[in-house]
Amino acid sequence: MISTVLFFAGWAFMLAGCMFFVTAALGLLRFPDLFSRLHAVTKIDTLGLGLMALGLALLDPSWRSCLMLMLVWVLVMASGAVNCQLLARFNLEQEEAQSDEAATRHRPGKGDKPRVS
């Protein structure tokens, strides 16, 4: 009895996780600029994989598999957050660098723009 409950609960969580994967894929294709796309992708790392891992843990509830699933999920979540920060800052720096070059090219004598921190 308990295993069928686990079975259906596990499948429900897995399907929910899979739904997040699909929505993030759509988000990645449709969103206009980088920052909104970053938002979409980090959803997979946290929720998509989280629900998938929870569903898988329910499907084969041994100690070793649950701990490993949780470790992988926490690691992917942390790396997702850090990558999101890094990519956003990196993109800002790139844009600043390009806008500085553009600014110096148009008005070479005026010195560079006041830096907006």
């Binding site: 894929a25 997979i44 790392d45 992988v72």
Partner: protein
Amino acid sequence: MIWLASIILLSALAGLWRMSHSPTIADRLLGLQMLSTTGIAFLLLLAHWQNNAVWRDVALVLALLAAVVTVALVQMLRRRT
């Protein structure tokens, strides 16, 4: 189980499309990160499907390496500008 794995791999196609049609470097790294996360989900699914716990270790290694690659590439590409 087959459908789940296929849907996840199809969502990896979206990451791939974003990687090839992306104006900036950050977009490419974003697509790369999406690909590695879908890969990790596929490996975890495979671990259950084939009843073989070693694929979870491969998923762990892939998660670690995906983190390293993104940080290394951001740090390297940033140094150049």
